[in-house]
Symmetry: C2
Subunit: 200 residues, 2 copies
């Protein structure tokens, strides 16, 4: 964005420059190590301007990855309620989001994450820091196997998204939500807080 | 492989033309409706030449999608043995294939299937006709819910592949195979032949 002499950078140019720098920095360093200061520096703007346009680092990250949902809002629907139905609520909420208007954006995010190594890094950061970390923290899961549990949940949900929304494998692609909740809910429940190796 | 006697210049052009026509025809019509005759016609060659170079329709399909494995050989490892360990064997075999030399080709297939609608159709045909149909047939699953069971298995395995081999979400990305078998095996067992909605 440098060297546009004769024309004052407009607001949208500056915001675009910040988003571009944010994608690069989050992708290269990961969410935790990427600071607002480093992103501002890469975009040649003052850190205060980044906060002014995008708010917190988390909000900037969600804008940078074009997140189709606000994870905080979605996850509260999953976490609140009876622990015995946790897996079912997670699957029900996931299917409701993907079946709804955000689903198209979510599928686009998934496609680009897999076709492109760099987009894949951002997507992984999104899943790990915005979804899995919050689920784990809000559930208070602090056992040694908690990270494994979270990645197992990610695998089941990513696969459901692929088969239902990207590869369109029937009958899962057009099954009623409650069929999916009934069959996949118990899996997610076990991965989250059940016996991980029941046959061992 | 068909006999290569009398090899002349132009052979590889002809084979390429057949493979190209096969990809297009399998993608447009699906595996079942795509005939060797239609593929030969699209490639402007005699159907006998297609059989000569590629053998059966199934062999042609596997060549056309650059299948990294021979599903028949792999699936026999899964099907043979005690039914009680079926899910564990499926996951163990799946991880062994993906952890091995075929894994790179398999990941490439998954990436292109998701990034490209047309490659996605071929990939879906591969999963449905070469893997799920065979598993179902060899297990003798003919209940009304068998197609749902197969697509649930596809979802769990596709998600495992994504998290372990494409998105590289830890600790699943580098977990020992037996940890994955112990945790995901029971899920696949239930999807294949267990109670699909245990909480209902």
């Amino acid at each position: 964005m440098a060297g546009r002499s004769g024309r004052r950078p407009g607001t949208s140019d500056t915001k675009d420059a910040i988003l571009h720098a944010a994608r690069r920095t989050f992708g290269d360093r990961g969410y935790d190590a990427a600071s607002i200061r480093a992103i501002a520096s890469a975009a040649s703007v003052d850190p205060a301007l980044v906060h002014h346009y995008f708010g917190s680092k988390q909000q900037l990250f969600l804008a940078a990855v074009n997140a189709p949902i606000d994870p905080g809002e979605i996850l509260s629907r999953v976490i609140d309620g009876d622990r015995a139905d946790l897996g079912h609520r997670l699957v029900r909420t996931f299917v409701a989001v993907w079946d709804g208007p955000a689903g198209i954006a979510a599928a686009a995010m998934l496609r680009s994450a897999i076709g492109n190594e760099w987009a894949g890094k951002l997507f992984r950061e999104f899943i790990v820091t915005q979804l899995l970390r919050r689920v784990r923290s809000e559930l208070g899961l602090d056992t040694a196997d908690a990270p494994l549990r979270m990645s197992l949940v990610a695998g089941q949900m990513a696969g459901l998204a692929m088969v239902r929304y990207v590869l369109l494998i029937e009958p899962l692609a057009s099954a009623p939500a409650e069929v999916i909740v009934a069959s996949i809910g118990p899996t997610v429940q076990r991965y989250l807080i059940g016996d991980l190796a029941p046959d061992a």
